[in-house]
């Protein structure tokens, strides 16, 4: 009797135990699983079409909606995406792409080489970096519907990097080719049609953007997620609280401060990482107006470099979570070189240099004074750095007056009309230095436009190096040229480089396969899935 009861119980328990065991093994194998809604945030965007606008606000959702010819992996290598294969001619002047068979736009129309040619023209003419990326592309030929041939007038070593969906999204010609101006095209925001892993289901710019799975995506079995919800949250503190509470699963360009990172990690559910920003590479720097005294004098700039201890800033202001960095290139770039002159922190040396330069200590223990502009954006970084610089330079007799910009427009006006002495500033590298780095050093680019060569640096030797690097197709030779460029930029102290930015992605342990390429959150999320 007793026996049979046990037997009966066992007969019930055994299958349960086996199922449990089986499911345990599947969990440990971490097999990606389809389905689920991923909650994320956005700070708001004015267009969803990355062909006409740069920046993360458009780029993150834009790369989900639009596909590109290639993807770039962790090692800056191009892998097939919309182009299943490609060949490059020996002279590096002809690139021939073969499109994936049967790929369709979200409205069911096939993607053809005509769309590729149209997209290239659009980006070249409308994207802020269109010319920097593609001015050497003379024509895109379309011998048949699935072959696009790029003909170049001079080699573009970073061409494949610029073919990520972020920088060269393939947009439908049958939608955008209606003659309307692309920058203001109504379909940039309404009824947006791309061919990426997700399509737009709801676009309420004040409240949220909902993207749903593209069932006809050209990669079989992807994407895993059913839905992405971008809630529009502008306040960074509110965002941090939402992450802490678990209302957000994944967010790139999270805008959190280094001090918030520890707090979020303490929840035990959240991972904070600065990986995945190598391709955009944000660099902070102190920009000095090189046209006027005292900053036209290299000795003065050297004195400043000796007085400002960047590793101290990295440690104290950014909680040791960022690289101090050494020059114009982000440490995540393939072209980064640390072989540059270093200016050890030494106040006495700084003072001696100032004496030499003809700025002795005068009345009130003062050598000279200047106004340092603090931009309204990225205040969490610029504010404390400005205050640190003020106190350090105070120690060697330079009086720094901090001028907080009330808003973006005011600051841009001052800098782009060269009406400033010094400002905290920073800019993106972008995957190829031609796009994001050259603009600050080129003599031709001294323009009344923000993030050009506003500081007024011009040296024919530097121009020659830049021109050479722009067309050099041999990777090692190109690396050597960029090493020289970095050395020269630091030698001339075109800028005084600050630590690299704390740009971070935050995600919960529910998220599997968070985007890990050098484009990070700006790459398509078709491999991302939600665990049980």
């Amino acid at each position: 009797m007793f026996h049979t009861r046990i037997m009966r119980k066992l007969s019930i328990i055994a299958p349960l135990a086996i199922t449990a065991l089986l499911s345990a093994t599947t969990i440990s194998a971490a097999e990606p699983k389809a389905g689920g809604t991923l909650n994320t945030t956005s700070t708001g965007y004015r267009t969803l079409n990355p062909a006409v606008q740069s920046g993360a606000a458009t780029g993150v959702p834009g790369s989900q909606i639009f596909a590109g010819l290639v993807l770039i992996d962790e090692d800056y290598k191009a892998t097939p995406y919309l182009a299943e294969s490609w060949t490059v001619s020996d002279d590096n002047l002809t690139y021939s792409f073969k499109l994936v068979e049967g790929a369709k736009f979200h409205d069911g129309q096939p993607i053809t080489s005509e769309d590729v040619a149209f997209s290239l023209e659009t980006v070249k003419a409308n994207h802020p970096f269109g010319k920097a990326m593609f001015s050497n592309v003379e024509a895109v030929e379309t011998p048949d519907a699935s072959t696009a041939v790029f003909r170049l007038s001079a080699p573009i070593p970073g061409l494949l990097l610029s073919m990520e969906p972020l920088l060269l999204p393939i947009i439908p010609k049958h939608v955008y080719g209606d003659g309307q101006e692309l920058k203001k095209h109504p379909r940039n925001m309404e009824n947006v049609i791309g061919s990426g892993p997700f399509k737009v289901a709801e676009n309420t710019p004040a409240e949220r953007l909902v993207l749903v799975k593209n069932e006809d995506f050209f990669i079989e079995g992807r994407p895993y997620l059913d839905k992405l919800v971008f809630s529009i949250v502008k306040d960074s503190l509110t965002r941090v609280l939402m992450m802490e509470k678990g209302e957000i699963d994944y967010v790139g360009f999270s805008g959190i401060r280094a001090t918030d990172a520890g707090r979020l990690e303490k929840t035990g559910r959240l991972t904070v990482t600065t990986e995945g920003y190598g391709a955009v590479g944000y660099i902070h720097y102190l920009e000095l107006n090189l046209r006027d005294k005292p900053f036209s004098d290299l000795k003065v700039r050297e004195a400043l470099a000796h007085a400002i201890d960047t590793s101290f800033i990295a440690k104290i202001l950014f909680g040791g979570r960022v690289n101090a960095g050494t020059g114009p290139l982000h440490t995540g770039s393939v072209f980064y070189s640390g072989d540059v002159p270093s200016f050890e922190a030494d106040l006495e040396k700084a003072a001696a240099l100032l004496d030499e330069a003809g700025y002795p200590v005068g009345a009130n223990d003062e050598r000279f004074s200047f106004t340092l502009d603090i931009p309204s954006w990225a205040k969490q970084a610029h504010g404390p750095m400005g205050e640190y610089i003020q106190s350090q330079l105070g120690k060697i007799g330079i009086k720094v007056e901090l001028r907080q910009a009330p808003d973006f427009g005011t600051w841009v006006k001052r800098i782009s009309s060269f009406d400033y002495q010094a400002t905290m500033n920073g800019s993106f590298n972008y995957p190829d230095p031609v796009i994001g780095v050259h603009r600050h050093f080129d003599c031709d680019n001294i323009r009344n436009v923000i993030w050009s060569n506003t500081q007024g640096y011009c040296d024919p030797a530097m121009d020659a190096l830049l021109d050479a690097a722009a067309v050099e197709t041999d990777l090692d030779k190109r690396k050597a040229t960029y090493a020289e460029i970095q050395r020269k930029a630091v030698e001339d102290l075109v800028f005084i480089y600050m630590p690299q930015d704390f740009t971070a992605t935050v995600y919960s342990d529910k998220v599997g396969n968070p985007p890990s390429s050098v484009f990070g959150p700006l790459a398509p999320w078709h491999d991302v899935y939600l665990k049980d």
Partner: protein
């Protein structure tokens, strides 16, 4: 009544025109222009593109030409195109005004009723526990910055005690059905409305308390008491009407302030309303949008004031007799 009303409306139109001219001028005095901000957000641009955009927006015209073009458009009911969104301003405003009105009206009504009730209750027993608590709370509500109250409420009621959501107007995965959706929005509305109401709650409770105390001292109340009327009747029939008059006046005047308070509350709670749009339009120098919102709020405030005028006459018939 009709005559005074038409006079009020006439005044209102002149006032609106002044608001438009003043705002337009102020925005143009601010340094920096929308094209440079746009270029910044794009991550840089060429001078040719900047010039093209300026010509597009009419910013290359002299100031007076821009002003008169704008006024002419507004008179024809056209508030113009947003520089930033490339959309008609009226469309932008109508997309968001619902959320703001829901927030502002809920907060104002809550503050009005609860504030008045608290004030009147505490006026009847001076130095009682209730009276002291109300005084203390209203002092706190009055002096604390509204965004701080918002963040504290989030920390308390959505992080520490996870009762309410932190931000937004609806859950990411919207519940099915209209009724469920309404419940969801109400659930999201509680914290922002409470935050926005806090300042005005404090104000109304103090105002109605003071006003009630004053009325309770007056001769006709003593007469009513002497007649032997019940305490309830004296307070709620005789005193209340007179005591709420200043509260109603202020509610009308404050409507404008509530809208400006909404700017901060909407930012903290990611509420998709006009306040956030106004704030961003200032930063972006998107003058058509900002002017449109200011114009709209001015119209709203004027309408509310006219309504208050009418309400005033209903509460106190002596006013229309004059």
């Amino acid at each position: 009544m009709v005559k005074s009303l038409s006079k009020r409306i006439g005044n209102a139109v002149i006032l609106l025109l002044a608001v438009l001219v003043l705002n337009f001028t102020l925005i143009h005095i601010a340094p920096g222009d929308p094209v440079e901000v746009l270029a910044g957000e794009m991550g840089g641009a060429t001078p040719e593109l900047l010039a093209e955009l300026r010509a597009d927006f009419g910013l290359d015209q002299p100031f007076h030409v821009q002003l008169f073009t704008y006024l002419g458009n507004v008179l024809q009911g056209n508030l113009g195109y947003s520089f930033y969104y490339d959309k008609p301003v009226t469309e932008l405003i109508f997309d968001r005004i619902g959320a703001t009105l829901l927030l502002v009206i809920t907060a104002l009504l809550f503050a009005l009723f609860v504030g008045t009730a608290l004030g009147i209750a505490s006026a009847q027993k001076r130095n009682s526990l209730l009276s002291n608590v109300v005084t203390l709370l209203s002092l706190a509500g009055f002096s604390a910055p509204v965004f701080w109250i918002g963040i504290m409420l989030i920390l308390l009621l959505s992080v520490a005690l996870p009762i309410f959501p932190i931000a937004g107007m609806a859950t990411a995965d919207e519940p099915e059905g209209n009724f469920a959706y309404i419940l969801d929005v109400v659930w999201h509305l509680v914290l922002p409305a409470l935050t926005l109401a806090s300042i005005y709650l404090a104000f109304y409770s103090r105002l109605s308390r003071a006003s009630m105390l004053e009325v309770l001292e007056s001769d006709y109340i003593r007469t009513a008491r002497a007649k032997g009327l019940s305490r309830f009747l004296v307070v709620y029939k005789h005193a209340l009407r007179n005591a709420v008059l200043p509260v109603v006046t202020f509610a009308g005047l404050q409507f404008a302030q509530v809208i400006s308070g909404a700017v901060l509350v909407e930012t903290v709670f990611a509420w998709p309303g006009l306040g956030t749009l106004a704030f961003e339009s200032i930063l972006r120098r998107d003058s058509p949008t900002l002017l449109g919102i200011l114009f709209f709020s001015a119209v709203l405030v004027l309408v509310v004031n006219i309504v208050v005028d009418i309400a005033y006459r209903i509460i106190d018939p002596r006013i229309s007799a004059k």
